[in-house]
């Protein structure tokens, strides 16, 4: 499939033709698929700066946005790009930036301003291995940064973590929806594998509806002037602004938490993993099941808000949890907070751009099972005697309760 053909599967056609095009399966590189999904979601403006492994995303935008009469600017730095996005978003436009780990660090300052002033923007972080300049291999070492870090101040940012190119495309539309509904930056995290691998994707695009914004800067003709800002030197006023922000974050946690369960119905063990690590986990789970282990996958789709209540509920029926990440173990802290000691939580991860193999993960699962069995033998329990809670409801409900990433 050449680029030319991919481009032709696009509007300015009859409805029927478009429907056929939208259902077509094509082979696409992740970065390009994410870019096209953003375009189809109605992205008005893209600002970027080259960095591996997401340069193809910028290049796709450089070609496509001008031909659609939309805005593309290659900025002087990631600082420039995110601040251009700030200005563009302040006018009410649907705006996106993308980068990779070191560039996201530079964008952190403006993210704080945008969170504080309620300016919607979508950021894509195709994560690479750190710290520092690190390397360009796939990594999930920015979990802390994405979910707890980046800029200064008491704020949060919804973080979406697809595990396939198809899901990434769907979540791009979700990202714009969330950004505009809650007036917040939204981050989508992928890694070098998702960004640069090619896989067949079904071209199903969504374009979120446009809302009328009563805050957008358009020039104060016929109305009072508007101000988009985060500063408030009066502590009472600033605390009220902060309380309003925290209220918003609770609303987001209540309504927008997304996760997926797989083969959890009868599971005694679960792997918690997201993104590329979840794909490795699926292969490991298939092998473990061949070996008679009852293992399932709990995959957070929103890293923030983390699906803590769902994981907490599930942990009551589990003998143990293995967290698999392309990092030294970052998400595992949220897993442990959710599980609250109800079952052992083990970790397996690789760093530096390396990806755990299914066999490594299988080995870690077996080690976890051995540990659980030794503990139970020492305390006189057998695994079969373990209180599984109410498996008839919990077990069946877990997979069924999984929310698809593309929930409208």
């Amino acid at each position: 499939m050449t680029r030319r053909q991919e481009i032709e599967i696009r509007p300015r056609r009859t409805e029927a033709e478009m429907e056929t095009g939208r259902r077509a399966r094509v082979l696409m590189k992740g970065n390009e698929a994410i870019a096209e999904a953003a375009i189809q979601a109605g992205c008005d403006a893209y600002f970027g700066y080259p960095i591996t492994p997401q340069a193809e995303l910028l290049e796709w935008m450089a070609r496509r946005m001008p031909e659609l009469g939309r805005v593309f600017v290659q900025a002087e730095s990631e600082l420039g790009a995110i601040n251009m996005a700030l200005g563009a978003a302040a006018t009410g436009a649907r705006v996106m930036v993308s980068s990779s780990s070191p560039g996201i660090s530079l964008m952190a300052e403006a993210m704080s301003y945008m969170a504080g002033s309620g300016t919607p923007v979508v950021l894509v972080n195709v994560m690479r291995a750190g710290p520092g300049l690190g390397g360009i291999g796939p990594s999930q070492s920015d979990y802390f940064q994405a979910t707890k870090g980046h800029g200064h101040g008491d704020y949060r940012v919804p973080v979406l973590a697809p595990d396939s190119i198809g899901e990434a495309m769907d979540l791009m539309a979700t990202a714009f929806e969330l950004a505009e509904r809650y007036r917040t930056p939204v981050m989508l995290v992928a890694d070098g594998i998702l960004g640069q691998a090619m896989e067949p994707v079904e071209l199903r695009f969504r374009t979120p509806e446009r809302q009328a914004f009563d805050w957008a800067l358009t020039g104060a003709a016929g109305r009072p002037a508007r101000i988009i800002k985060s500063i408030d030197l009066d502590p009472e006023v600033l605390e009220r602004r902060n309380l309003a922000l925290q209220h918003k974050y609770r609303e987001i946690a209540r309504h927008e938490t997304r996760w997926e369960g797989w083969r959890l119905g009868d599971a005694e063990f679960a792997i918690v993993a997201y993104g590329t690590a979840a794909r490795v986990a699926r292969s490991a789970i298939a092998r473990a099941r061949d070996n008679g282990m009852k293992v399932g996958l709990f995959r957070p789709i929103t890293l923030w808000p983390f699906p803590e209540r769902e994981l907490a509920r599930m942990s009551r029926q589990l003998h143990g949890i293995l967290t698999v990440e392309l990092s030294s173990g970052q998400m595992i802290e949220d897993v442990r907070l959710a599980v609250e000691g109800r079952c052992p939580v083990a970790f397996h991860g690789r760093m530096g751009g390396l990806v755990p193999t299914p066999d490594e993960v299988l080995g870690a699962l077996k080690a976890l099972r051995g540990r659980v069995e030794r503990t139970r033998a020492a305390s006189g329990h057998s695994p079969a005697a373990h209180d599984r809670g109410t498996p008839s409801t919990n077990g069946a409900g877990l997979d069924a309760g999984a929310r698809p990433g593309g929930r409208g």
């Binding site: 008005d44 600002f47 002087e76 600082l79 420039g80 700030l86 300052e109 104060a220 101000i227």
Partner: protein, 278 residues
């Protein structure tokens, strides 16, 4: 400054009243937070007058800086977005590209524009962004208590150069407007001052020209305003104005540095052609 006789209808009946000056509506009627003698108030007023003269307030989207003028939106009644420190030209670029019909204005101090924001101002100018930049140079970080700025004069004492700025240790003052003027994307660059009535009159003409450049479809336009900071300089307002007219103007010569808007005006030999219409 502005002799706005057109708006004097309410007073026309009063025989004794001759309208000499009317506050532009876009200038909010409120005491500023600026220190006594500070130049920001004068510059705000000039901006308000020029915006009004050119019928721009309803179309303006302005970018507020970090620094003493962070609350400029309390005084100018137009749409405003606050930029992180130094990033106003990038924020303005985003607005410009999405709102081709808007009048886009930035207002930055010397720490903001000539230190932390050098990359953003250079590249906005290099791209020839159709924005009007007001650059207030008072040679000091005023809001944080009077530290050395990139524009601080050699020998000048500040809280972070207590023995005076030493070129060997702290480098030389930057004439960043001259640097920017080299870029073909810059249509207009000038430097004025708020030191006295004559200077203020000439400054207003520069600001008006920089605004017209944008309206007429030119590229980047910047006016550097030499201003005073009596508190930060440790002077009375009157002393600070004398200082402004003396050593400050010596270091930063006044006048139009480049004007590529009029084909008849001589262009610098090194200047590349102005950028084609987008």
């Amino acid at each position: 400054m502005t002799l706005d006789a057109r708006s004097s209808g309410a007073l026309r009946g009063a025989a004794a009243a001759r309208l000499v000056y009317r506050k532009p509506d876009v200038l909010v009627d409120r005491a500023t937070h600026y220190c006594p003698g500070c130049g920001h108030g004068v510059i705000h007023r000039l901006l308000a007058e020029v915006l009004t003269d050119l019928d721009l307030p309803a179309h303006t989207i302005a970018v507020a800086p970090v620094g003493c003028a962070v609350f400029i939106y309390d005084y100018l009644d137009v749409d405003f977005v606050e930029a992180p420190h130094g990033r106003a030209p990038a924020v303005a670029t985003g607005i410009r590209r999405l709102r081709p019909e808007a009048f886009v204005l930035t207002y930055q101090g010397d720490g903001d524009l000539a230190a932390i924001g050098t990359a953003e101002i250079v590249h906005a100018a290099a791209r020839g962004e159709r924005i009007t930049a007001i650059f207030v140079n008072n040679g000091i970080y005023g809001m944080t208590g009077g530290q050395m700025a990139p524009t601080t004069l050699l020998g000048q004492r500040t809280t972070s150069s207590p023995s005076g700025r030493d070129a060997g240790l702290m480098g030389y003052p930057i004439r960043i407007t001259e640097m920017l003027a080299q870029l073909p994307g810059v249509t207009y660059a000038a430097r004025g001052s708020v030191a006295d009535a004559g200077s203020i009159g000439r400054l207003k003409a520069m600001i008006a020209r920089a605004c017209r450049v944008q309206i007429e479809g030119g590229g980047f336009a910047i006016v550097e305003v030499l201003s005073n900071c009596p508190v930060g300089w440790g002077m009375t307002p009157q002393e600070s104005l004398e200082h402004l007219k003396g050593p400050v103007v010596e270091a930063y010569p006044l006048g139009v540095i480049v004007d590529r808007s009029a084909p008849s005006t001589a262009r610098p030999a090194a200047a590349a052609p102005t950028k084609p219409e987008a």
